[in-house]
Symmetry: C2
Subunit: 286 residues, 2 copies
């Protein structure tokens, strides 16, 4: 199997690792605008060789795992080049725009719009992990627009990686993912910012921080190059969830101001049911 990974970072690199393990005979070529990343990916054994876009007509599978702004520009070019049997997948955290972008492309059938909900706060080839996708959800949008044989090819690989498959329309995906992923990143970044600003003259204060703080600011380590275009593409949904979040914080603040501790207790007690809701989420141990 000839595999091309465009963007050999955390997600692309982890997919490359799994594919090399599951299909030892496969040849994995890497394409990346960052020469250092390419070199690292080769040294780490994530890829066998460097590839070029021109070669994609030979590819069985093309994984495009790059920031979602670059993705929108590149996917049409990739589809221009592919062969009949080539399956192209992406891994972007927004789905509406990419689906819209390829809608009328003559090779739309070669593309499967994917969002594997997996990752860590780290980035680059050295962050790649074998087994990252195990028991994670892969959301596939507009699956009916992908050629049936290519759907089968993709699903087989995803299942071997251990992923659960879920089908969704791209607009619904972007709306819900704003709540369960994009908002978490903003809350974490702004929490990190608040504490760094206020405590900048007291660097040694951070040894007062425990695992609870670490857990809530973990995502503030995420890559700005990846996240800025996600917030841009999903602006309307993100604006809406952010508004709701700020309103809830203000309501909490106002209860505290009025010494309404019964109200504060009830807020927390009601939210405790998140325990039940979270039960199914597999934790990332890294």
């Amino acid at each position: 199997m000839k595999v091309y990974v465009i963007g050999i970072g955390l997600i692309g690199g982890s997919m490359a690792k799994d594919i090399k393990f599951l299909y030892p005979e496969s040849e994995i070529s890497g394409i990346d605008v960052d020469g250092d990343h390419l070199q690292q990916a080769k040294t780490l054994g994530l890829i066998d060789r460097q590839g070029t876009i021109d070669e994609l007509k030979e590819a069985d599978l093309v994984i495009v795992s790059i920031p979602v702004d670059a993705l929108l520009q590149l996917i049409p070019n990739v589809l221009d080049t592919v062969g009949e049997e080539t399956l192209v997948i992406d891994a972007g955290s927004t789905k509406a725009l990419v689906c819209q972008m390829v809608e009328k492309h003559p090779n739309r059938r070669n593309f499967m719009a994917c969002h594997p909900i997996a990752g860590t706060e780290f980035s680059g080839p050295s962050a790649a992990l074998r087994g990252l996708f195990e028991e994670k959800t892969n959301i596939i949008c507009e699956v009916e627009k992908t050629a049936f044989k290519l759907q089968e090819k993709g699903l087989k690989i995803f299942r071997k990686m251990g992923m659960r498959i879920r089908y969704m329309n791209p607009v619904a995906h972007d709306k819900h993912i704003a709540y369960v992923s994009h908002l978490s990143h903003i809350s974490s970044f702004m929490l990190g910012k608040t504490v760094i600003e206020k405590e900048k003259n007291e660097r040694d204060i951070f040894d007062m921080a425990g695992s609870g703080f670490e857990s809530t600011v973990r995502l503030a380590k995420s890559s700005p190059a990846m996240w800025t275009p996600i917030f841009k593409q999903n602006k309307n949904n993100v604006m809406e969830v952010l508004e709701a979040y700020i309103e809830n914080l203000q309501a909490f603040q106002s209860k505290l101001k009025k010494d309404d501790y019964e109200g504060i207790y009830n807020e927390m007690d009601n939210t405790n049911k998140i325990k039940e809701i979270l039960k199914g989420i597999p934790l990332n141990k890294t």
Copy 2:
């Protein structure tokens, strides 16, 4: 060693476990307003027997690990009862009020005001863990007001549990802990609330949530009975940090509204330095 644990939950129970392991000959008595918890603690082997406040004059060590409102009321009674050699420690997340409360107590020398920065989002005796305090920071306030021999006794036990010791004045403690702990809990509770409210009719949306979401809402599982009095006692500091947090979120929102993606990128890029800051924090693996 005769040890009394008043409040046999996550913290008290974990201390009991460590003490039983480190000092196998010790006798651990439990006191708790919750009869079920007492029974569970006995079944789990956290305590040897049920104790009463009257017996405290015989105690070598009294650990008071109860919500901070109950703590304020109980500590003077405990100090009324203790013997010459009894060391009383607490584990509350606020320190200014408890230090003020005992300031003029004739047995002030028997008390050491402690805040071991350790825990999980779970509560009750079944949440108790051996080794919970390993490599965690224990903040001790106004140590000079504790009798020197009792300081030595306490420090020896804490060191055996693997804790790092840090001395601080109680007012500074409460100010800084609002940033690195109390704010994280509010941000997490309100994040959980926002998502539960908005997605209440779409329960199956939560399998879209990944480990990032889980990480940021983990603390929303925490006990309201424990956290409400903490927010009450530390109201002024919490109001201040919450205000700063909301302002930062609003600034982010306003950048997004104006399509200032360079500004958004820079915010995140600047906050990435939290990576360096967090390096020293030992994670809780539970």
